[in-house]
Symmetry: C2
Subunit: 467 residues, 2 copies
């Protein structure tokens, strides 16, 4: 007899789950109904900054699979339809068609919750004024691009962004990527950053390198700047952003202030949430204590394999993996998502930024004692054209020498080098074991000692010296 | 009382060992005497193709540390001095000053053998004719550059290499890199390749991709072409290279035909050699059965951690690591070189080539049963500018699913991706474990599923299907 799978959320985790379940089960075995409150499905939210900045020509390029394509594969995706209630006991969800307002209940045998995350808007006056933009989904991106085009067209001294000012609130991944995008469009960009340095997922010393590089690119970063108010003009549109100390004039404001799990529905349904508000699952991505409910993507907490703690990390790469795992299990196969090590890479123009594992603060919080080392090296053999400087910081546990984390700031070739450390973390290698790693070497690709190995050597010495 | 360390060979392994020993022991504790028969020390032989091709401006840029710099650090390096005999029992080496012809004996308490490798010249008539060049060391590189300059200056139709023909014998790393170098100088380049496809360290299907790309670059590759003769003109200089089938006119010939361990001295001294003629050492790089003799670099065989067999792999990255290990042990500290997994990367113009672990033939030779998968992916998110195609081939053991090898051919961003597989091999991961690896993702650096992960997913399915 046919079962019904209901999926809440039509982006990475939800539709990966649906697609993988469909590969394993025919429509006769498993009916799949997916609800998405937006217009789009399976899109790359991570690509929005590059669409805004002009590197990506159109919205459609960011869509991996359209609703029509999903439907053609026998996945009953209903866009612009919001799920308003999960009734776990009676195995049904209530949904509302956002066009017609019609509500209805849909029963399920199996449920996947992939409701994503919602932006953390600073709770200050004016934050909802026209001209203040989030960049959470494609609709947000389109709204921002439309607003930027209007701004650029209305220039008194001709068209374009010249002389126009953009303020980005937040200096995390989204913040710095949006700063690049707006800079590429010609704006004068100011980034207001609550923390001591940009990229608070790095240690402050590495964040300082990012700050200096952003300065060099012409992006002004103001640290320790808590936004207190968004000021509007007579037309009601944004005019400036205020902190305790200063007002920053703005033609447009972009919020890159992070996200939190969107788990309102789950909470109302009594499902288990963790310390960060994300759903708690087992290794097969089943919601804890619920045999027929799975959850994945930005709405769940994930196990940090290095610290042993649950964390909330909203990244498309986890969402895709988790969706795949859910779909395999829903479809009767077996797969797990064992956790992650906290890898993240980003860039601002030609500056590459990467991290994996724990930074100092995180290591301290879980009671680890550690040594840190920082080395300067280059992306290629020093004599090879284009060799670019690279700074690698490494944390290793005292006594055991186990790798705890790696941060890299550099130019071309810096970011993806962190993958070596990510695999080493997963394998629980010591920094001394890492010194023997057989990494690819040829002058166009690396010095004879790869920068990661140089850091591992120095960390090995530091572990010994610390005793 | 002061001990004396004697080092034979002044390049990567030997001088890394000497430098590391010096860091640990003062001149009062340890005298260091190093013999080098060439003019130079601690240079990057791997950089020679880029010097010949013009990417590197001068020979001096390839020298990491000159003889004078070594001497300034209390390392008594004697260049142009060849060791002619090792007397293990009486703990002394005989050397000859190549300028004066003077011979002498030098006693040692500890000995490091780092005699490197010698090129394998095809034993055919004319192979030693003027115009046929090896590229083993800096002197070779200089001779080639001088010859190329003379050839280019003597052009009938003006200066430059236009219309000049270069034949490269061998299509391994050195061969393809020299092909690029000569192409960059303006030569018409033909590569004569004994094997079925270029890059015999790859499987033939991946080698075919390299062949096609080289074609596209304007480099002609002739496979299954065994050189039978080098033909000379009336002036005695090279005129053409002959195979069984054809004659290939050549103004210059470069040999990229591989190397073998240079262990004549060691063999005469009765030291243990392996199946490939390389010295056999323990994990601390001590020559087996000899407490005070170490060996490292291109003259030793190394443990292949994937196959469990000894192999000969002449790579600067191993030589540097082994030298470091030797120096630590000689200096009274402790370190080991546990082995390698067979990683190698290279490029031909914008084509990047990488491999690690075992290729099909190697896996079969050691009795492994395996599945192979090949996937096409891109270096960046498909919608991001500059996303370049990449082919990843993966071998996994049947039943266990253990990763056995990975080969990658692509453009920018392809080569160093192999490092992820190199670390996974070292950690003996299965391809299923690899599917969960937390690799860096952002649109400018990777699709949301990194190409290596796509291959691991497909390999996981193949392992299951093979049963």
């Amino acid at each position: 007899m046919s079962e019904r799978l209901v999926v809440i959320g039509g982006d990475a985790a939800g539709m990966s789950a649906a697609s993988q379940a469909r590969r394993l089960k025919s429509p006769g075995e498993l009916e799949i109904v997916a609800f998405e409150r937006g217009h789009f499905s399976s899109y790359s939210a991570c690509g929005i900054p590059y669409w805004v900045g002009g590197d990506v020509g159109s919205r459609d390029e960011l869509i991996a699979r359209s609703p029509e394509e999903h439907r053609a594969r026998d996945i009953g995706l209903r866009t612009r339809t919001e799920v308003t209630e999960i009734d776990v006991d009676r195995q049904r969800v209530r949904s509302r068609d956002l066009e017609s307002g019609t509500e209805e209940w849909t029963g399920f045998d199996k449920l996947v919750i992939a409701t994503g995350a919602r932006p953390l808007r600073p709770p200050v006056p004016g934050i909802d004024a026209p001209g203040v933009h989030g960049v959470q989904n494609l609709d947000d991106g389109q709204a921002l691009i439309d607003a930027l085009s209007r701004t650029e067209d209305s220039g008194a001294g001709g068209s374009g962004a010249e002389g126009r000012r953009a303020v980005v609130v937040g200096a995390g991944y989204i913040g710095v990527e949006m700063a690049e995008a707006l800079l590429n469009r010609g704006y004068e960009v100011t980034v207001l950053n609550r923390s001591e340095q940009p990229m608070a997922t790095l240690d402050p010393d590495m964040g300082r390198l990012v700050h200096a590089a952003m300065d060099g690119l012409g992006i002004r970063t103001v640290n320790s700047a808590a936004v207190t108010k968004v000021l509007t003009g007579p037309d009601g549109r944004v005019r400036a952003v205020a902190t305790d100390d200063e007002e920053y004039p703005a033609d447009v404001v972009v919020l890159g202030t992070g996200v939190e799990p969107e788990t309102t529905l789950a909470e109302e349904a009594g499902l288990p949430l963790g310390a960060y508000g994300g759903l708690l699952t087992d290794l097969a991505m089943r919601v804890r204590g619920h045999g027929n409910v799975w959850a994945g993507g930005d709405c769940v907490e994930v196990l940090d394999l290095v610290s042993g703690r649950m964390r909330h990390v909203a990244l498309g790469t986890h969402a895709n993996k988790q969706g795949q795992v859910i779909g395999s299990n829903v479809g009767g196969d077996y797969a797990t998502f064992p956790g992650m090590v906290g890898t993240a890479v980003s860039k601002v123009c030609d500056l590459e930024i990467a991290r994996t594992g724990l930074r100092e603060k995180e290591a301290r919080e879980v009671g680890l004692r550690f040594v840190t080392v920082t080395v300067e090296s280059t992306s290629r053999a020093g004599y090879y054209p284009g060799a670019a400087p690279m700074t690698v910081k490494m944390l290793a546990e005292r006594r055991t020498g186990r790798l705890l984390g790696t941060q890299i700031v550099g130019r071309e070739g810096a970011a993806k080098r962190v993958d070596v450390a990510a695999v080493a973390l997963t394998a629980k290698m010591t920094v001394e074991q890492m010194t023997a790693l057989d990494l690819g070497y040829a002058p166009p690709f690396s010095p004879v000692w790869d920068p990661v190995l140089v850091a591992a050597r120095k960390a090995t010495a530091a572990v010994r010296a610390a005793g």
